[in-house]
Homo-oligomer: 130 residues x 2
DNA sequence: TCTTTGTTATATATGTTATACAACAAATAA
DNA sequence: TTATTTGTTGTATAACATATATAACAAAGA
């Protein structure tokens, strides 16, 4: 599990860490039961404050993606989706898709991009099973 | 052109306004040449400060979606996409799609949701032509 | 001239982000 | 038992983002 931060990026550090963990779960690099680095270790390796890592882990915990305790550290959980998640996600997807349409991207290209990204997740999952 | 704001929403007001304009352009409710409300008028109608409206309009201008001048006010422009836009957009789409996959949403449901949203844009465009 | 429009400037209040230092509690290893 | 490692919590500070308030300027049109 390799996590990196870009201090020059406008995206907050804790959000960068959160996004990388989410993508790692999506591609199957992290599965239910997989451990994440200890907050202090990750902070030292990344050259950032451990409170910032703490905030990223707390966000992931509130999203229901990881579990935290003193015994095992941070561990990926089995997904337990809220009933409202699909609708909430669709609303955010609408905003993102609208931006692309407003900027003149053809709708076929939008769907092709989404399909390509999703396929890249699935393909990585298969590779990890080998 | 009806714009509303939700002060209890965690999303910043200027971002809410920006998102609504983007969606209105995507569905064809706003087209190249369409005027937007004057900053002071919109601020008064929404009960917010006109500087906040100003910030939303400035963001839309920097995104290349509207044009601002003293004569005509804020006007929707013809989309002039940057060459890097599709790649940048794909990176953001990846983050959003990864979240849904990590939360256990089936990939077919993801694509179906995207397709449904895009279709809703296209359908509204046709309705506006009548 | 008067009004309307965008534009710019300054100031204030509140919330967010990130860091720093410190201490506590629980589990594990020596 | 002692020492270490882990997550957890607290306070403090600095920088930046968000939103409001008041004010003034410039350009176009009625």
């Amino acid at each position: 599990m390799i996590l990196t931060v870009d201090l020059d990026n406008e995206v907050p550090i804790y959000q960068q860490l959160r996004d990388q963990v989410v993508e790692a779960i999506a591609v199957g690099e992290l599965r239910p039961g997989s451990p994440l680095p200890a907050t202090r270790a990750l902070a030292a390796d990344s050259g950032i404050n451990f409170h910032t890592v703490n905030k990223a882990y707390d966000l992931l915990r509130r999203e229901g993606l990881i579990r935290l305790n003193r015994k095992t550290g941070a561990v990926v959980t089995v997904p337990d989706p809220h009933p409202s998640f699909p609708a909430d996600w669709a609303a955010r997807a609408k905003t993102l898709l609208a931006e692309a349409v407003a900027k003149g991207m053809p709708t076929e290209e939008l769907l092709a991009t989404c399909r390509s990204v999703i396929d890249s997740f699935a393909n990585n999952e298969l590779e990890d099973n080998s």
